[in-house]
């Protein structure tokens, strides 16, 4: 394996900009890695739904020329990146891992994609996800699951399991994800990578295919906290094309990651959320978390326990609000303007074509959620279900507000277990939903939260994630704490697992 794929984005950028290695060489190394481990779809990592080698090499050549001319667009110019396939791209298909959008070429780039291109990053391709980002394992992808590089029989998390597995497998140093209930953080946790959900509204959603508009947030996936921060600063900031875009300046996340890495958390108050423990939590996950709490104390932080009793309503509220918004958002897939059309034979009327198309084009989880959302918003149920879920949201916001009065950040395990076997929860939606238990509150309240690798579980040797939650617009606090913890952990865990068996089988 080429050592270039083992390097951080920050280190790759340093070498590319120092002319020690070209962006073309770095890009080619990652394309070769993708060739070596990503396929076949039935047994490889299967992180990618589409790889654009030609486009990537052209972008890399352009970055090399700019660097030679002294006109590099940004510090990350020339560094390759993978894009979750619910972000629109004019030069690659955007499928949302759904048959209904198979092969669709969007007419415009998402704002984050425009910004990446302007910053000289090199898009490698589009990564797999649960269909329309609904799921926690990528098993809901219409094109088959991605696999966890640490154990190819297990899930890489979801919905952004393509982005997490690409980064964990060394197929890309960076990736973008979208986090509606944990879809960046939980995949980060189970693949031993960093995943950040920025404060709601601070990264433009323009060109992100909408799932649940009041919760969706695009964010970075990386192998280090600093890399995530560098990418965060490229994609973040106000965008007039997104009505929910916040005009406040982006928090200084790179500065915070650099400061945190110096390893001093004196004066920082960290709250352990007591509700996120106990039944349903894997012992090895809790043990790794307890070790992290001790490590944070050794870094000088004051660690206290905080109770957020209303977080018990987070999962139920989420599985009402997200399906409700999804049922409305996905009404746009009507077989008229783009995407699949089934039954257009001159016999069927428009509404029948619509129903036949949606039946053929959507998978089971998407249909379930659309129907649950339709139920929650219907006249007889609205007050008891959707209305109450919005009230739950208020209680969760209040719990966060109270906790942040005494604590700078809150911490918990990112998800209750390590990566579970593919198939284990596929037929049990409620068991699948539990993977999002700890990540959902920050989506409902809109604050910042990230997952940073937290060693490996003693019971199965698989990666564990530490979640750090910060108040809205104080993303820098989470970066500082995570960077300090990451630095203290040192290189005890290889960041890219061996995939020799897969490489040897080629």
């Amino acid at each position: 394996m080429n050592e270039l794929i083992d390097l951080d984005a920050a280190e790759l950028a340093r070498r590319i900009h120092g002319r020690e290695v070209s962006s073309v060489e770095v890009t080619r190394a990652h394309l070769e890695r993708i060739d070596a481990v990503d396929g076949p779809a039935e047994s490889g990592v299967h992180a990618f739904l589409h790889v654009d080698a030609e486009g990537a090499l052209a972008a890399a050549e352009a970055a090399d020329r700019a660097i030679a001319d002294g006109t590099a667009a940004s510090a990350l110019a020339g560094v390759p990146i993978a894009l979750k396939d619910n972000l629109t791209t004019t030069d690659m298909p955007t499928t949302c891992a759904s048959r209904i959008l198979e092969g669709w070429r969007p007419p415009y780039d998402a704002t984050v994609v425009t910004r990446l291109r302007a910053a000289g990053l090199v898009p490698l391709g589009k990564t797999n996800l649960d269909e329309f980002a609904m799921g926690s394992s990528t098993e809901n992808s219409a094109f088959g699951p991605s696999r966890n590089p640490w154990d190819l029989t297990r899930i890489p998390g979801g919905s952004g399991g393509g982005s997490s597995s690409a980064v964990a497998a060394g197929e890309a140093p960076l990736a973008l994800g979208s986090d509606t209930g944990g879809s960046i953080r939980q995949p980060g946790a189970v693949t031993g990578t960093v995943g950040v959900k920025p404060t709601y509204g601070t990264v433009s959603r323009y060109g992100l295919v909408a799932f649940s508009s009041s919760l969706d947030q695009i964010g970075p996936c990386a192998r280090s906290v600093l890399d995530a921060a560098l990418l965060h600063e490229v994609i973040g900031g106000h965008d007039r094309n997104d009505q929910t875009s916040v005009s406040a300046p982006l928090p200084p996340v790179v500065e915070a990651a650099l400061a945190g890495a110096r390893g001093d958390l004196a004066g920082v108050r960290i709250g352990v959320v007591t509700e996120f423990s106990g039944e349903g939590y894997q012992p090895g996950v809790l043990a790794a978390f307890t070790d992290a709490v001790r490590a944070l104390g050794e870094l000088g932080a004051e660690v206290v326990e905080v109770s957020c009793p209303s977080f018990a309503y987070a999962l139920p509220a989420y599985y009402l609000i997200a399906p409700s918004e999804a049922s409305s958002n996905l009404a746009r897939f009507d077989a008229m303007r783009y995407g699949l059309r089934v039954g257009d034979d001159g016999e069927h009327a428009s509404d029948e074509v619509m129903s036949l198309t949606r039946e053929a084009g959507f998978g089971a989880e998407v249909k379930r959620r659309i129907m649950i959302g339709t139920h929650a918003l219907s006249a007889g149920s609205y007050d008891a279900l959707y209305g109450k879920a919005q009230k739950a949201r208020t209680l969760i916001v209040r719990d966060f507000t109270a906790a942040f009065e005494t604590c700078d950040v809150l911490i918990s395990p990112t998800t209750p277990t390590t990566a579970f076997p593919i198939g284990e929860r596929a037929d049990d939606p409620l068991a699948m939903y539990l993977a999002d238990l700890c990540t959902i509150p920050s989506n409902l309240a809109g604050n910042a939260a990230l997952s940073v690798p937290c060693g490996r579980s003693a019971d199965d040797g698989l990666p564990v994630g530490l979640q750090v939650m910060a108040p809205a617009l104080a993303d820098d606090r989470a970066y500082r704490v995570a960077a300090a913890y990451e630095a203290a952990q040192g290189a005890t865990t290889p960041r890219i697992p061996e995939l020799r068996a897969l490489e040897a089988s080629r």
């Binding site: 139920p316 059309r341 249909k367 649950i372 339709t374 008891a384 279900l385």
Partner: protein, 98 residues
């Protein structure tokens, strides 16, 4: 349980324009009943708590009312399942029974 019946799910599927099969209805009705039962926990919350619809602290985002370029017609039609004479071609709107 939440008392969501198979007929209720069939009704939801019609409302949501999903031509689900009988076999799917068998599976979905049990699953949706169990999910709605679980999420109904929010019913415990007192009525006097105010709702939160979204968390961005801003309202009425305005911009100058200026004409800007929009998608060219051929680009807008490029992904259409069917196009004719520079327009989206759609199936007839009314059913036979009307």
């Amino acid at each position: 349980m939440s008392d969501i019946t198979r007929d209720d799910v069939a009704h939801l599927a019609r409302l949501a324009r999903l031509a689900v099969s009988d076999a799917e209805l068998d599976v979905f009705s049990g699953q949706i009943d169990a999910i709605v039962d679980t999420v109904s926990k929010v019913g415990e919350i007192p009525d006097d708590v105010p709702p939160t619809a979204q968390v961005v602290p801003q309202t009425n985002v305005l911009r100058p009312d200026e004409t800007e370029p929009s998608l060219p017609r051929d680009v807008a039609l490029a992904g259409a399942p069917a196009a004719e004479e520079g327009r989206f071609r759609v199936p007839r709107i009314l059913g036979e029974e009307l």
